[in-house]
Amino acid sequence: MIHSLFLINNGGDLFLEKHWKSVISRSVCDYFFEAREKAVEPDNVPPVIRTPHHYLINIYREKIFFVSVIQTEVPPLFVIEFLHRIAETFQDYFGECSETIIKDNVVIVYELLEEMLDNGFPLATESNILKELIRPPTILRSMVNTITGSSNVGETLPTGQLSTIPWRRAGVKYTNNEAYFDVVEEIDAILDKSGTTVFAEIQGVIDACVKMSGMPDLTLSFMNPRLLDDVSFHPCVRYKRWESERVISFIPPDGNFQLMSYHISAQNLVAIPVYVKQNISFFETGSSGRLDITVGPKQTMGKTVECLVVTVHMPKVVLSANLNATQGTYNYDPVTKILLWDIGKLNPQKLPNLKGSLSLQSGAPKPEENPSLNIDLKIQQLAISGLKVNRLDMYGEKYKPFKGVKYVTKAGKFQVRT
């Protein structure tokens, strides 16, 4: 399936290669570079590139291109999903997935890649198993390693692969047994010029951090499970219980994982927490324009809107911006043409406003279109859909765990057209 993998940074440097079958020359990447050049933006590189003898399937993540070489028919999503899994594993291991980190930990990276694929077919992708095979680096361990000269390869052989619960290793022990769940909801919305909702839906995930000894069997139930329109689960969740009883029953992996993601569709009414009054105009003469944006609370369910950020992708002709913000700071990057207004907390008494003039490239025709605004925000202790966790029950172990649920609402792809 997957023949080889090349990691290429944004500048076009190939800094890691791994082959699972015979070696394929790195010159195959020339086709990729060609496509990369044509695409201008890294986002626009076609995920699948056809070359005379191979197919290149690539993803772009954290400013790194993961380019895999395929020789025969394979579902493209299979490869794409796997490449993302690799990136996630790196993130899980090293805290981030960047070029420097990969270079610094090149041996561990190589060992991971070796374990994750065998002959191009995925072998072990569960983080729990991998961590038993190859221990993630920690400061303490790297110090110990330098002193004792040992490395990160697991001393003991893993058992996880052999158990029926591949995502959890046996013999987990904690002194404090705790289970925390974060219900994170993101609002995807498109608002039109007048502020009416063109389209809105909620994408939610439940992230879990479960640190419990032994083999706890958890059951999470909701007050209003019917709300969820479409769900997808971590493999540990029993589909059947969900389908029959609408409860989430699972033996959790150890540590952090995403328990489920859900979708509340546009059919339901989605509360839009803020409104935006904006007026961006460009003058026909004088190569200038005016900008006036006000943000105010709409349906916030009585909570405070925090971390409010407005991002505007300006037309290319906008050279600079001379604005005045009543709250927060703004920054206009003339290279990327992005205006970023970081507001912070939204005060309903005194609405934040950004006002001022834009100067355009002289002589250039006035831009046809007005840029759309992207809103970013955060509301603590609120799931905007109204989803509520009812209770968490544990079976199979004797102790009493700490339990906690946190709700956060964020803006996802929240766009205001102008």
């Binding site: 440097d13 190939l14 800094f15 015979s22 933006e41 986002d43 626009n44 995920p47 699948v48 993803i59 772009y60 993540r61 020789q71 028919e73 394979v74 579902p75 493209p76 999503l77 299979f78 794409i80 796997f82 993302h84 090149v106 041996v107 190589y110 060992e111 065998d118 002959n119 077919f121 995925p122 040992s150 490395s151 390869v153 052989l157 692969q161 052999l162 619960i165 498109i190 063109v198 059951t219 479409d230 769900v231 997808s232 689960f233 971590h234 059947k240 219980r241 389908e243 029959s244 033996i251 979708h263 546009a266 992708h313 046809e368 279109e369 840029p371 079976y395 792809k413 766009q415 057209r417």
Partner: protein
Amino acid sequence: MSASSAFSDEKGGSSGEPEYGHDPASGGIFSSDYKRHDDLKEMLDSNKDSLKLEAMKRIVAMIARGKNASDLFPAVVKNVACKNIEVKKLVYVYLVRYAEEQQDLALLSISTFQRGLKDPNQLIRASALRVLSSIRVTIIVPIMMLAIKEAASDMSPYVRKTAAHAIPKLHSLDPEQKDQLIEVIEKLLADKTTLVAGSVVMAFEEVCPDRIDLIHKNYRKLCNLLIDVEEWGQVVIINMLTRYARTQFLNPNVNESLLEESGERAFYASDDDEEDEDKKAEEAALPKRKPYVMDPDHRLLLRNTKPLLQSRNAAVVMAVAQLYFHLAPKAEVGVIAKALVRLMRSHSEVQYVVLQNVATMSIKRRGMFEPYLKSFYIRSTDPTQIKILKLEVLTNLANETNISTILREFQTYIKSMDKDFVAASIQAIGRCATNIGEVRDTCLNGLVQLLSNRDELVVAESVVVIKKLLQMQPEQHSDIIKHMAKLIDNIQVPMARASILWLIGEYCEHVPKISPDVLRKMAKSFTNEEDIVKLQIINLAAKLYLTNSKQTKLLTQYVLNLAKYDQNYDIRDRARFIRQLIVPTDKSGALSKYAKKLFLALKPAPVLESPFKDRDHFQLGSLSHLLNAKAGGYQELPDWPESAPDPSVRNVEIPDWSKCTSRKDRKEKKVEKPFYSDSDGESGPTESADSESDSGSRSESASASDESASGSESEESGEETESEEEDEEEEKKKKKRPDKTKAKKPVEESAESEQSSGAEDRKRGRKVVKNQKSASESESESESSESEEEESEEESGEESESDTDIRKKKTPVSKQPPKQSKKESKKETQEMSLLDLDDFEPTTATAPVTPVNFMSSSLVSDLEGLSLTDSILAPTTIAPSGSIKMYELLHRIKGEGLAVEYCFSRQPFSPDPNMVAVQIQFTNNTNSETKNLHIEEPKLQSGMRVREFSEIEVLAAGDSVTVVMGIDFCDSTQAANFQLCTHTRKFFVTIQPPVGELMTPAFLTENDFKKEQGKLMGMNEISEKLSLGEKCVNEHIIVERVTATANLSRVPCGSDKECRFAGKTVSSGCLVLVTVATKEGVGAQLTVNCEKMVIGTMLVKDILQALSQ
């Protein structure tokens, strides 16, 4: 030469890149090459593991950077036998990378692996095989072959998985081994562990994808295992099964697609009479077609893949989606839309692939995605390639009802900054306009407005699209043509200029005044135009010459002359050709007469189609589909067969995998019950019903046991055998069972995993060898319980009569417990399997498995020895004592001759002291025997539990039989609902206990009573005044009434005006104290003290009623 090239490689490789390992060796890059790795070699040769490790780390870092480290091979390969596991691992990494280049040296390492293959540790065996098979050295093919064969029958599934992985490796190394490898694949396909399934199917797909016959026997197993296979394996299996299903089953949409076809034909029929006849023949044939019935195996596949739509892995979701698209009946395909739309939130690469597939699907099944229209709306932040795909989908989804919304969206898109996207949007508008007649004018107007756009690209694109639209109805739009003629001065984009020229030429009759002028202008600029424009100028000239030769004759001549000397041969050719055609000379042939007809013939309007049309002949989700070209190794999706191949090939005779499957079956069934049963009307047959309850499976074991055991032991062995064979039979049986069995729900969330695994064990029905120890244990326990029983009976007095009867009637029930205890002993060793938890067995899973029997097995055989063969079941011997009230469970008429009554025997239910014993009497009033009486699918309130009676195999006509079952009502009067099944029918029945039956007598002294009563004051005390009924004349009658109402015992009391009773609730053991104090005349006071107030209140009510009668 090789050395020098290696050197330059080195240099080239390293000079461009920054160094990132601390690699002192490479620091000396300009020192002579052969010395380069000397220090590394030294380190590798040293005795210290830490040095070796350091060296290996550096070497691996070099490999990762793509540098050549092959000259270190001899030094590295020595360390293959190193004890240090870390060094070893890195050496393996090195070996796999370079063995191919240094074949001879690589052979040195082989013996180490061969030794590793024999290691007692399965992980070492597996890793040895993995590395051995990864070394691409042809000489060791026979060794690899041997190793794979051995590993394929290894005990450890992990090693077998590795063997499956090794198969494609060996195959690519030496394709001649194919036949032998297929044998191994065949063997591994029969493997029943989820670990192996994905890998072996992968090997199958790479080595012998055409050997579909290997799948037959494993088809059902694969379907059932699917949900537990790891995600990557799922993708491969689903894709393979899609192809398999296409060869083995009939097209579920066969009737519809025929209708469609004939409908389409009717449209064109007028063109061709022959075809018309064809059509008639077809239509005549149509009614003859048999109604389509879906193969149960086909249904099995659809049903088992559906839950995977909820997977977190996009590839799995896509695989299921394509399976449904290619295999499911039209009405069911819709379920995949939601899941696919969900994937749109994922990474942009995932979106890209999903949108491509959605685009293809949306052409064929537009309705499916219509509800999700808005999910395809475009954001300005989407990458261009995603925008364009979304646009494609939106265009495909457009119809009369939603077109206005879509056009409004398109309007915003046209204003985007992304010009490629704007161009695509304009084309999309054009396509909507051609497809939907109602909006054509609106679209045209909108596009015309765009002609005044400042951006040239936008204008050019609009021109092209307008041209296409105008071709449909040119007469009404001469204004637009005039407007466009004016544009020719400004627009520079060749394609747009060419389009305008073509339009003017084509419709020159509508704009007679302008067209010659345009030609004049173009003639002037002819030499500077692009080729495509030049060709259109010639065209325009020719057309004008034919219609308006007076004005344009000279111009045309001029243009043709220019073209004659053009650099492009196409243009010269065209000019020559047109001159001959239009300018009449004496040499010109007959053709020139028809020149006008040739040029100005009515041209059919172009059809604007999606580029995704007909892409679905590729399997969706495949690379080939994405590229719209066949990729190497692509397996065509076969067409449906005309008639289904023999479905019996999938039957498996020797159900050696029965354990797995039956487990899965059960699980599956559980899940689907509430969810699928309504939608899957025709799915009945495969439904693997009711193996759930023990009694269910017992029905089959009964027949099995008939063969295996005989004589007096038969009952018992029938119990114990619960043989493995049963599953197979069971499955066949299930098929016959009616659909409604599905209405079951999983119960009991409180089940603990341990217990369920115990239950699991029991369900699997292992052939259990009699365990002497536990049997004797249970014996003694049962004896003790017996003696208790006797005591209680003496005390309560009244029932002593029926004592012996009751004991006898217990006999049939006593079969179960001995087995139970054996299970218990096995339980600990049972591996805990997470997913097993799903099939909680409602009865036993939650019951604390106490190995208490109320009759030892020896006693059973003793009783049987008394030759009470059938008469033991005779109604006379088991009639409950008169004081016990019988309730009807199933009326004779409703039960089609089977009458069922029950009573609360007030005996402790020994297998579980927290359960209320319910005695059930079956009477067969029909003329035929009823078989396999058992209970199924209890529907219980949470916390309630049921212990079923063991199955009654045969109930002869006219006979009756009594059994005892236990129910834990949780001290509530909630009813227990369950199904009573015979071999032919199922009846929904309900047992609701009167509150008085929820308790057992408790024996207290007067002092104890008072003490306890003192504790249960206040809220827990309920007293009520009453007037005694006429017959309640003396104490004796009061006692009788109270004990008849509630299962309490009398407490001795000094006063003769008071009667005291005590009991405990069965489930939680709460005390229930009742006092009846008589006063003068008929007055009396009733006091009930009980912690459970609900019970107390209900009891008061009941006793009041009993006493006041």
